[in-house]
């Protein structure tokens, strides 16, 4: 108090509810409690901005599969994708070309040289245009291929209009790799299922008649992924974008949960504490019983009851915090009820409703910001816990708890980033809120203030 009220805050009356919080915040900004409060406010503000502008900040849409799965953070990974064809096209004069997908199976066979087969629809999963290498993987069956017979392969990047120079594949019984990287300007467009084709032509040194059997044909593409700050998750979504959008989900659930908890718990506590009597006892019993039960489990039961969705999960979370607000409000009311100003109000004949709302409620309200911060931090943890257990919001919503549970299965393979970062932001936000709660408690609570003096 010694350094006096900062002049810039004098437009808020010192003894108004807001003033009782704002003035100490500025006056005690150099104490540990003040610093903690301001750090908390800062963190909360940053998260609010993120939630509001997630669409603008996020580099990718949160629900899209934008890249290869499980790409580590902070790197451009070399992804090698391998895909066999799912369709063949005219002139289909080879027999059973579908079977060429399987090794050791009945391959695609041609019994006359110069027969041609086009294979297409290689559904390659490529997300960037920086393609390092395109190779064909060809395996000719040793038993189904006569000596002197072989195949020529070439590729088309434009749906079969132009073809690259053919390359002979003479290896039989072993996998042959044909590098076609230089055959075309490869990109996502030219490797798309509609554009990319592989043509296999039966060739022979010894005469037209004779068999050639193709056991396996695949296209292998090595490409460079996009650089991701936090990597990609097990489905190939950008972790950073999902973390940003998850802020929205988390804050929304928190706001709904805490708002309803205050709007039920506060009036109930006010009424119960002021009235007293048997009703008060009953309410205290109910609230204490609910308070003693694991909140997460209660919220889980109710979440199942209400169904998924942000609003419903928010309401489920509410149930945990109603007893908290009830208890705090009630205990504040019990002490405020005995204050001199309440007695004075009663003496001048103020009706009970007026005493309750004008004199007690407004003074009890000061205690709410502290409880708000604490319960908000807890609500975020609970919401994340519910989603982690599969009782919260539904996939594919961007949600921290959901992302953590989806990533939990791959942690045994050392893939840490898709669970580490969502958890980290939970920790940062909840630390911010609990710093705010603890700091405010030290600043506002007059008992603690007296103790420190």
């Amino acid at each position: 108090m010694a350094n006096g009220a900062a002049p810039r805050t004098t437009w808020i009356p010192r003894h108004s509810i807001l003033g009782q919080i704002v003035h100490p915040l500025f006056e005690e900004r150099r104490t540990l409690a003040g610093v903690m409060s301001w750090i908390g406010i800062g963190i909360l503000a940053v998260f609010l901005v993120i939630a509001l502008f997630a669409d603008v900040i996020a580099p990718f849409p949160p629900l899209d599969f934008v890249d290869e799965k499980n790409i580590p953070p902070w790197t451009v990974a070399l992804v090698v994708g391998n895909e066999t064809f799912t369709a063949w096209s005219v002139p289909a004069n080879w027999s059973t070309p579908a079977a060429a997908q399987t090794i050791n199976g009945l391959g695609a066979r041609s019994d006359l040289a110069a027969e041609v087969q086009d294979f297409r629809r290689f559904s390659l999963r490529i997300h960037t245009d920086s393609i390092d290498r395109v190779e064909l993987v060809v395996l000719l069956s040793a038993s189904g291929t006569d000596p002197g017979h072989f195949v020529r392969v070439n590729v088309s990047a434009d749906g079969g209009r132009t073809w690259s120079a053919p390359v002979d594949v003479r290896a039989v019984g072993t996998v042959a790799r044909v590098d076609v990287s230089a055959s075309a300007a490869w990109s996502r467009a030219t490797l798309a299922t509609t554009a990319f084709r592989v043509r296999v032509t039966h060739a022979s040194d010894v005469g037209a008649a004779g068999n050639v059997t193709l056991d396996f044909l695949a296209t292998e593409v090595a490409w460079r992924s996009v650089w991701h700050v936090m990597g990609t998750d097990p489905l190939g979504r950008d972790v950073f974008s999902r973390v940003l959008h998850g802020t929205r989900t988390s804050l929304a659930i928190m706001a709904i949960g805490v708002f309803f908890a205050i709007s039920v718990g506060f009036p109930l506590g006010l009424f119960s504490g002021y009235r007293g009597g048997n009703l008060d006892k009953l309410l205290v019993l109910i609230m204490d019983s609910l308070y003693s039960f694991p909140g997460l489990l209660f919220a889980g039961l109710i979440a199942v009851l209400l169904g998924k969705g942000v609003l419903n999960i928010g309401l489920a979370v509410t149930v945990i915090y109603i007893p908290l607000y009830f208890r705090v409000t009630r205990s504040q009311v019990l002490s405020a009820r005995e204050e001199l100003y309440v007695e004075a109000a009663r003496a001048i004949g103020a009706p009970p409703a007026r005493i309750m709302f004008r004199y007690i409620a407004l003074n009890v309200l000061v205690a709410i910001p502290v409880i708000f911060s604490i319960s908000a931090a807890d609500a975020i943890l609970t919401a994340a816990g519910l989603s982690y257990l599969g009782l919260g919001v539904e996939a594919p919503t961007a949600d921290w708890g959901l992302d953590l549970s989806a990533a939990a299965d791959v942690i045994d393979n050392g893939i840490w980033w898709s669970s580490f970062f969502p958890g980290l932001v939970i920790v940062i936000l909840t630390i911010g809120l609990s710093f705010l709660g603890e700091g405010l408690n030290d600043i506002i609570n007059p008992v603690l203030k007296k103790e420190r003096a």
């Binding site: 019983s289 039961l301 109710i302 199942v304 549970s405 045994d412």
Partner: protein
């Protein structure tokens, strides 16, 4: 004699007060379950439409055809006479709810006790250190630890421990209660105790190794609360008259902290301990999921997803009974330590 008598009186009063608490919890669960969407009988048929007669029979068997208050009455009398019924879910259909629960309970008990040990050890040590060195950098550090560790998501910490100690370093098993089939002969169901009873130290070690990561995870998160409480009460006892008196007599500071301040600082910790168990059990559900431990938390989750009403009721009853019992014990313990509470 007089002291013992009043303690007994307190314990009885407290016990009587615990009954309405149990009733409120059970009523809340009953109400929640009766409005739960999805017919449990239809859920059993998994999307197919069962014949009308079968549904009627099943309803009659479960008592679902009766009015709600009759159901409520039989539910309450059942619970208080110890009959929890049989499961109606997919996984345990027809099995006794109590048998399934008592099969899963030891895993949760082991986890809960282990985490409480970790939490109280870490919490008391940090709290005492911080409280006796007020406003030093150690104190600030420990206060930060207490605040931060409290808001770390349990499952996240668990995943990190799994990754670091289970996957990267390979020191400890990252999943489950046991790997392999050489489970110690079942007496209590607690693997650690069973192994000791069988006199098998290597299997005891194995059971403990599986417990370390889950208990560390849950224990560390819970320890923040102990840290804060112990620190706060140490601040009072270190400067209390009896501590000052000891200092004036020339008792060394270490001894003042250890003998005078520390002992008295534990009294409020015991009284707030009871509140910790609700949080402990909620945390145990998350820990069980993370470390794939088949405890009653997992059981409750599975019952919720399969709409196994009787199983949900059973698990909630067990939870409520444990919590009420623990808070009872803790309260009586507090009254034993601090006679003022009894007044």
């Amino acid at each position: 004699m007089a002291r013992g008598h009043s303690l007994l009186a307190y314990a009885i009063t407290r016990l009587v007060l615990a009954v309405p608490m149990l009733v409120v919890l059970l009523t809340a669960v009953f109400m929640i379950l009766r409005v739960l969407p999805g017919d449990p009988i239809l859920a059993l048929w998994g999307g197919r439409t069962p014949p009308e007669a079968v549904v009627e029979d099943a309803r009659r068997e479960l008592g679902l055809d009766q009015p709600p208050w009759v159901q409520y009455g039989s539910y309450m009398t059942g619970v208080f006479s110890g009959r929890l019924g049989t499961s109606i879910g997919e996984l345990y259909r027809g099995q006794s709810v109590w048998a399934v629960i008592s099969d899963k309970l030891p895993a949760t008990i082991e986890l809960a006790i282990g985490s409480m040990i970790v939490a109280s050890l870490v919490g008391i040590v940090t709290g005492v250190v911080a409280g006796s060195r007020r406003d030093t950098w150690i104190d600030v550090g420990i206060r930060l630890y207490g605040t931060i560790v409290w808001v770390i998501p349990i499952f996240w910490l668990g995943l990190i421990f799994q990754l670091v100690f289970g996957v990267w370093l390979g020191w400890l098993p990252p999943h489950g209660r046991w790997t392999g089939t050489d489970i110690p002969p079942q007496v209590t169901g607690l693997f650690t105790v069973d192994a000791l009873l069988a006199g098998d130290l290597s299997r005891f070690g194995k059971a403990v190794a599986h417990l370390v990561l889950p208990c560390l995870t849950l224990g560390l998160v819970l320890s923040g609360f102990f840290t804060k409480t112990v620190r706060a009460s140490m601040l009072k006892t270190v400067t209390a008259d009896y501590s000052e008196a000891a200092r004036a007599r020339g008792v060394p500071e270490r001894r003042v902290v250890a003998r005078h301040a520390f002992r008295n600082a534990l009294v409020p910790v015991v009284t707030v301990l009871g509140l910790q168990f609700a949080i402990l059990f909620a945390g145990a559900v998350l820990t069980e999921r993370t470390f794939s431990i088949e405890g009653i938390g997992q059981l409750l989750l599975n019952s919720i997803t399969s709409k196994d009403m009787t199983m949900i009721q059973g698990v909630v009853v067990v939870y409520a009974a444990i919590i009420v019992a623990i808070s009872l014990v803790v309260d009586i313990l507090g009254a034993m330590i601090d006679p003022r509470i009894r007044l």
